[in-house]
Subunit: 235 residues, 2 copies
């Protein structure tokens, strides 16, 4: 049974790393003693080791140990044997580039389809969608492809940000950017606000957290969906 | 003699398209009666025709006609024969993808090196740098490469935005993003605020407009440069 949490962010304002999700993660990773952490997105260019320590500290508070995928000589086998997988945020391009370099995208997908519980935050959530064409990140490296895990039949826009009223800045709003995406692509996009996540239980997709999500479907006016909505209609 | 204007934006808040630059453009395009417009960046997914009309309207006010590159069967020859070239903003990935598709990057570079005056705004400025690794745009299409014209020996970050004080949003600030870029790349980046531009006259590079620019050099603390600064030291 597939079991996935696709979270907008690791951290909500005024709270510690993963803190807002810990109760949920206790249940989600119930069967796992050790979590395999994929540190490839390297936020702020941090090292794989340092980033893994951050994840380990948060999981320690719910009694789980953490090992980084970079610690294994054979990452494919490490993924196949994982009890639970967490991909942290950072730069989506850096993450995807490293996943392709190590040729582990299919291994991760297979593990998840075999029932290994998965958590993604931010960049780690972007890769659950069809492509990373709707990431907010700066394209600081050039990956071999923008295609990702396609665990859900749409794209994710994490850290979704509403337009700032009365802004004098002429750069595009997030909504404008996603509309531009739909000038060249047809799949739906879910704008996930910080504190929201998508829960996947087998083939049931549900919006979770306390906020609404903004839904962008090709050829439709964007609209809001309340929390606890079933997202199974989006494809 | 090389003559280039690399502008942060086409439009500053409260003013019309290109309006803040028109006095400058009268001089810059002094020798040109007709401007060749590259509409490939398609802001908001607008058509090449509609986008060309927007550019034509602005240039009409300084007595210049405009033709879109998409109107020519042979874009390479059109570029070779151009009296002046303007690449408008929009989505940098869409722009670069189309430039590669039509195989015209070298033609544009040759024309500029032969003295054809060039104007870029936003995405049209990004392509003047070494790569588009520091664009702010959403990667809505996958171009064959991130490498661009290298008319200047650094990267551009247009629409440079200072961190918003007291923001509760957990997405990265622009400064953080450019620092991440330098975890993987070494070339300098110029953060050009809206209303600033770089003037290239032969091999002399000068910051223009009324604002400071923020300079990001590999391994250094970012710093401000006042307008009229010589940028020749950056490489």
């Amino acid at each position: 049974m597939k079991s996935i949490i696709i979270a907008s962010t690791s951290t909500v304002h005024g709270s510690g790393y993963l803190e807002y999700l810990l109760d949920e993660l206790k249940i989600h990773f119930n069967s796992a003693e050790e979590i395999l952490f994929i540190p490839y997105a390297r936020p702020g260019g941090t090292s794989h080791d340092d980033y893994t320590k951050t994840a380990a500290k948060a999981f320690k508070s719910i009694g789980k140990s953490v090992r980084g995928l970079h610690e294994y000589d054979d990452p494919k086998t490490a993924i196949r044997n994982a009890q639970g997988i967490f991909t942290g945020g950072g730069n989506t391009f850096v993450l995807v580039n490293q996943l392709y370099k190590n040729d582990v995208l299919m291994s991760i997908k297979d593990a998840i389809n075999n029932g290994v519980p998965y958590l993604g935050t931010s960049a780690g959530s972007n890769i659950c969608g069809l492509t990373i064409n709707t990431t907010n990140d700066m394209p600081i490296v050039y990956p071999p492809s923008f295609k990702t895990l396609a665990l859900v039949p749409f794209n994710i826009n994490p850290h979704y940000l509403d337009p700032i009223p009365n802004s004098t800045h002429m750069g595009e709003t997030r909504e404008t950017r996603i509309k531009e995406f739909h000038a060249f692509n047809t799949q739906p996009v879910i704008g996930l606000r910080e504190g929201s996540w998508i829960e996947v239980k087998n083939n049931r997709l549900t919006l979770k957290g306390s906020l609404e999500a903004r839904i962008f479907e090709y050829g439709k006016t964007p609209y809001e969906l309340p929390t606890d909505s079933d997202l199974g209609f989006l494809k």
